[in-house]
Symmetry: D3
Subunit: 318 residues, 6 copies
Amino acid sequence: MSGKSYNVPPSAEFVARVSGIATMAKLPFQETAEGLDAAFIGVPIDTGTSNRPGARFGPRQIRAESAMLRPYNGGTRAAPYESLMVADIGDVNVNLYDLKDTCKRIREAYRKILKTGCIPLTMGGDHTIAYPILQAVAERHGPVGLVHVDAHSDTGDVILGEKIGHGTPFRRCVEEGLLDCSRVVQIGLRGSSYSPDAYAWSRAQGFRVVQADECWHKSLVPLMAEVREQLGAGPVYLSFDIDALDPAFAPGTGTPEIAGLTTIQGVEIIRGCRGLNIVGCDLVEVSPPYDATGNTALLAANLLFEMLCVLPKIKYYN
Amino acid sequence: MSGKSYNVPPSAEFVARVSGIATMAKLPFQETAEGLDAAFIGVPIDTGTSNRPGARFGPRQIRAESAMLRPYNGGTRAAPYESLMVADIGDVNVNLYDLKDTCKRIREAYRKILKTGCIPLTMGGDHTIAYPILQAVAERHGPVGLVHVDAHSDTGDVILGEKIGHGTPFRRCVEEGLLDCSRVVQIGLRGSSYSPDAYAWSRAQGFRVVQADECWHKSLVPLMAEVREQLGAGPVYLSFDIDALDPAFAPGTGTPEIAGLTTIQGVEIIRGCRGLNIVGCDLVEVSPPYDATGNTALLAANLLFEMLCVLPKIKYYN
Amino acid sequence: MSGKSYNVPPSAEFVARVSGIATMAKLPFQETAEGLDAAFIGVPIDTGTSNRPGARFGPRQIRAESAMLRPYNGGTRAAPYESLMVADIGDVNVNLYDLKDTCKRIREAYRKILKTGCIPLTMGGDHTIAYPILQAVAERHGPVGLVHVDAHSDTGDVILGEKIGHGTPFRRCVEEGLLDCSRVVQIGLRGSSYSPDAYAWSRAQGFRVVQADECWHKSLVPLMAEVREQLGAGPVYLSFDIDALDPAFAPGTGTPEIAGLTTIQGVEIIRGCRGLNIVGCDLVEVSPPYDATGNTALLAANLLFEMLCVLPKIKYYN
Amino acid sequence: MSGKSYNVPPSAEFVARVSGIATMAKLPFQETAEGLDAAFIGVPIDTGTSNRPGARFGPRQIRAESAMLRPYNGGTRAAPYESLMVADIGDVNVNLYDLKDTCKRIREAYRKILKTGCIPLTMGGDHTIAYPILQAVAERHGPVGLVHVDAHSDTGDVILGEKIGHGTPFRRCVEEGLLDCSRVVQIGLRGSSYSPDAYAWSRAQGFRVVQADECWHKSLVPLMAEVREQLGAGPVYLSFDIDALDPAFAPGTGTPEIAGLTTIQGVEIIRGCRGLNIVGCDLVEVSPPYDATGNTALLAANLLFEMLCVLPKIKYYN
Amino acid sequence: MSGKSYNVPPSAEFVARVSGIATMAKLPFQETAEGLDAAFIGVPIDTGTSNRPGARFGPRQIRAESAMLRPYNGGTRAAPYESLMVADIGDVNVNLYDLKDTCKRIREAYRKILKTGCIPLTMGGDHTIAYPILQAVAERHGPVGLVHVDAHSDTGDVILGEKIGHGTPFRRCVEEGLLDCSRVVQIGLRGSSYSPDAYAWSRAQGFRVVQADECWHKSLVPLMAEVREQLGAGPVYLSFDIDALDPAFAPGTGTPEIAGLTTIQGVEIIRGCRGLNIVGCDLVEVSPPYDATGNTALLAANLLFEMLCVLPKIKYYN
Amino acid sequence: MSGKSYNVPPSAEFVARVSGIATMAKLPFQETAEGLDAAFIGVPIDTGTSNRPGARFGPRQIRAESAMLRPYNGGTRAAPYESLMVADIGDVNVNLYDLKDTCKRIREAYRKILKTGCIPLTMGGDHTIAYPILQAVAERHGPVGLVHVDAHSDTGDVILGEKIGHGTPFRRCVEEGLLDCSRVVQIGLRGSSYSPDAYAWSRAQGFRVVQADECWHKSLVPLMAEVREQLGAGPVYLSFDIDALDPAFAPGTGTPEIAGLTTIQGVEIIRGCRGLNIVGCDLVEVSPPYDATGNTALLAANLLFEMLCVLPKIKYYN
């Protein structure tokens, strides 16, 4: 390390894990993104969910369980805190009573963050939030590529008469030109569906769709090589719905679907994003009331740490 | 029983409790209120809640636990199913993504129910729903008296910039002239507050406010005699937020406050309403994700049964 | 203490609470009642239950939580282990697939225990077990008095076409002349009922019925003076269904009823039995799957210890 | 769709998932099987279980969680509601206090259902129920082939002195000639055993036994090709014990065994039954008290939907 | 309010409850007690517990649930944030592997806090922590009076061969002269005991002992008048073990005892301390793993807020 | 079987699973290891844990769930109770307040056990206990080989200033020469780390390190052939931390790490130890408060049974 000094979370070797205010990864809290290369930020809503709520407590619970995180990635030897200035910048102040207004608030908040050049790593919250985040992202970076890991395509048009909800964000994004549709991949899709050809719309936009059953019984390392090829050098947003993983691995979520990805595959996907020009990430749909052990939140904390470890300019020891 | 034949739930003496589709009290399900004297109906939302969600599953869980209910009231000897035609008429089809639209849907649904002369016994859902229900009730009956049992006054003006939410319904009702303010009593209020004189607004409207600490260590039978006096012969709506009760008795709720009423006091309040001209009732804010045993839902099912047992024209064996 | 040496559980002052095979109160385990003045014994069934099962694990969970018990009664200064030879004699080997056969097995087991002169303190199991236990008890002692603490009278005749189940034991006992009906009291009865006069049958037998609402808001010490008067010097059996207590105090049970007794009242009832000629006790209907914290089992362990402390010949330090 | 109009559950696009009486897959409820091609039916018992009870609540919880199901199979493109008339016909009224009588009641109920030509899809309940169901099935169809997916062979002779329980149904079926033994396959068997050669009896009857360890680390698609070969064109019954799956995937069950099948393998088995002449199916042993999140019930709902999607005459869009 | 500006937590009227880093009562976090009149501080240990652990997560969970707190006391009209400068100063960095060293670290930390004149309001952690805290308190204030609310006297001498643990802190305090023994009251003591006269040692020191059974069925307002008389004008420390309350009210704790105080009585005790010269408070033994709903932590947060509201110099609106 | 008679647990065919005092595998309890070939023993501590406690209840919960175990290994056809004299010898009496003293007590206890020639199968407790156990083992057998299955290397030097804790046991063992470092393998290591090369120290000692990602997507049967080669004929200790398995399979543990081994792989490892000269085994870190279903304890019970089945001299039926 040269002269620049980065934030480094206190090690559990010296400060007891249970001790201290719960911030993400025990990083310092600061009010704005000013001066940061990357920031963890929460968007605590679940008012866009169609079944079980609870994701509003996602950021709080992920922070609590993140006390288990240590500073290096033992698997990839990434050293994020020797590479980037990172902090926890708290939560967007959402409007729990009006989802459309919440979307405005989120977009505004992300505009400010992105203006500083900081890369946001978002702790959801339900998947509705990807829409206003991508509005802000595309405003800065132009239409972006997308790695969308999920059980559901989230490309519905209208639900219960509404355009905004956790089943529609990527339809809205396409309509507003926020995505570079040839640079979009959706991985893990599955479950019962509203029409026999559930992913026709996605494919019609030019998305690559990788259904969960194409992933069964195998490593996703080869898939990710293809994905990197597809997405190339342009800006990429990574949106990871925890329900992409099988409910065995991620029980604490609102709309679980059986026969999903394993955690190992989830990690392979994120690690496979190394080299992409990632401009933002989210991990959404952790619902603590359905996560009695806290293990789904702990999983989310680890996946967010893996995301941090594949951001551009991260140093690796190997 | 004369010639008229009423719905009677199958007795657990002959049909196993665990057997059968879960309707409220194992009553028959019918689509509309047509032909009914009283109807159980669910309003499954929690999008008006300020803290823990989950009340959207209240109706489903109350129905499930209501399998314990038997046809007579062992305490008061009321025989509701020898007096009234009662059924479960399902749930209002709410819009989970727009709380204001949900309120419209509720108002419409209750207009139709009330037009038939049926008395609705509502399973919430968060307390927001009392506002559109009372719109429909007042439309039919004129401004009504109110027995409001709750930890919170729910008379906030604006919250997070919004007029509609579970902390504001009774302010809205007053503004729209839905309540006969001299015939309103609020029982069980307590907790930390946004101003030092938390119930000033309620008192200024002419409400009787009975704080929880006025109820500590004693029977509420005398209070209810006064309440009956205050409310007289006009139409009365009974709105019971399960958080009126101490969290020891009702753990499964979204905004619990300590040092509340006992279940016994809750029962005394409802039984004390016998003789009032009740035109509608609700039991709100049961949040199943926080009710691991189902006991809060079971409590709610019993309180709703107690409400049924004090409706006008109920036969008593004594 | 003379020369006789009694079993004394290892104190948590010297042996860690968490250490050791889980027996009731950490007492020694022995295979039979031989040589004992009193014995804890489990009857692990729930196949007589009408709603939620789980009571089959009652004995196991009560034993686990009983590690909190210390040797003296801090409230009454009873010293049971300076007075009686007590042990845990394990469980009756029940037939989970045939409730009638289970009843035979229980009766046989208790015959053997009672033959030794040992007083059984039973950990249920559902309330069905009181019937075969009382068969054995009456065989030895003749018709006995009964202190029956419960939310339900358990005096049903037939349920789902069956004579044997947890809603009928005391009807069977009366039919077989096992009870001295003028020396029976039922305390805590409440809830919705199959007929408007729910306790008519009990009263017709000469039982004293004390409904829960007669107990609200007051100490039961005066009631127990009357009960001791009523029951006199003859042999008495104490049967305590944990659902006598309000679900706030005893959530982990199968057929909870709201507005019940407090734990304090439960303790007052048991302590009020001091001086009676108790020949057997049970504590039934703890259902561990509905007792996530173990606190209902811990409550049961304490109530069983209170029962031990009122057996004849117990020494008191005051 | 031609002129015939089928039952179609309300889509969550138009009716909120949380709204409405909980029937299986939100299908209409009707009292009998009259007019149906297939029917979901519950058998709510657990009185045949040897360890943890709770399966009596299986049907209720499966119905509750089935609100997540949509009308098409996104994986196979099956369109069951364009092919068959399906409804939920409620539960068998079981006798919780006498397992043998319950078996009689089940047999009677299924006789009536099968007489109408309707295919029953059963929600258990413990596995005991397969015996009386198969009595009725064989009465109509003659000895049937069996795809039995389970951790246990359930071929015990006597347990605790009894012939009837959840460990013995298939022994009873063989004794009564209900199975075409050369057309039986048992998949997923494992666990500690009462004898060193645990599956000798099954093999001696001519069953194909596929132990779980033969399934480890691989797809079961090839196995199912062999199974279809083995079972041929005759009538087949599919009995799926949720404990066939590893407890990671199906924690909410009564006698879990480690190192089991994955959900993916479970789906492969069911989808691999496409083309067989299935005359009945069951999904048993979901125990809600051990399923805090509801995810095991949700899994069961999905597996039952997959079963519906492989019934004869189902239309596929591909 | 004059010129001085105090910390005021963001109101849930303007900032969503779920939003933001979890500090106690949403107060600002600062590293030291400098400039504060009162400070919330956590001591996250459970290595002094004799039965169930988990209290190490007490501070984290209390902070999370404290998001429900509003700035005024609706019951007493106290306005703490118009009176005192308050903040959350994080946790003592405990040594989880050596309880004696942890005690040293606590004592050091509190010395520093007390040196600033700040009053510490401690979130435990197990009750061991009262010993080193009182060492620091007595060092500054001399021997102090004590209001000790607890199910247990915590005056053991040696346990498992050790002097330091959660059953011994007040014995150690007396031995070291930290308490003014004539100004000590212990309220709520109960449970089985290691000797027939469980509280003899306390009484021998001159403590007033109020056993739980002296509190049954009544208000503690009269008792507290006597306590204020007894304690007079000298410095007082308030130590509140959540297990003083009945497990119905506070299930999430490590060594629950039945038949305890109600929450109402707990509040009466704290409010009854108004007027005393309180120099420090603690709320200990909340064990989140046994508090699935978070309601015990929420109760603790409220009790800590009530403590804040009775500190010297607090302004009351009445 | 010749003349020697072994302990055989009562079969669930004759004794109900729920019946009886909970010992490991329902084996007889005896106070010492005298006369035994192998003994199950508990070490109930969690005072060495760095994050979530609860492992102190591991032995109690493993015993409770072990009621599911039958006498033969259905997978391998091992017949342990026809080969060895086995019993449950209870727990070490630990000092919960001083971890260093606890270590002394454990070492002493194991010295006595090992002196009899009995092989201990330990139920933890946290992983700290491996250090004093290995002190006793090496004292008897000299430096031993080690199969260490874990998410963590547990080779830390100092944590929070301490040498003894659950993150350091194997460092201590190496320092004291208790291990034959060329005959050590660590399997399953993963997670974030305190340095970029997390396992450098292990490798520097000559350990074989098999990181979890080397195990992904494949059978470990080939690995275990290599391990048997590496470990040869000398004495071997098997230490299995349940967190080696992915949290999906073993949620009930204190420091879970994502993307771990499957249960199947865990079983393959243990079965792959057949033929090694195993002189002791442990299964540690089961934390019941995080294991609501009991399934992690059940998994542990099964893994311990698998360990028993690979001890030297076990008879196999094939």
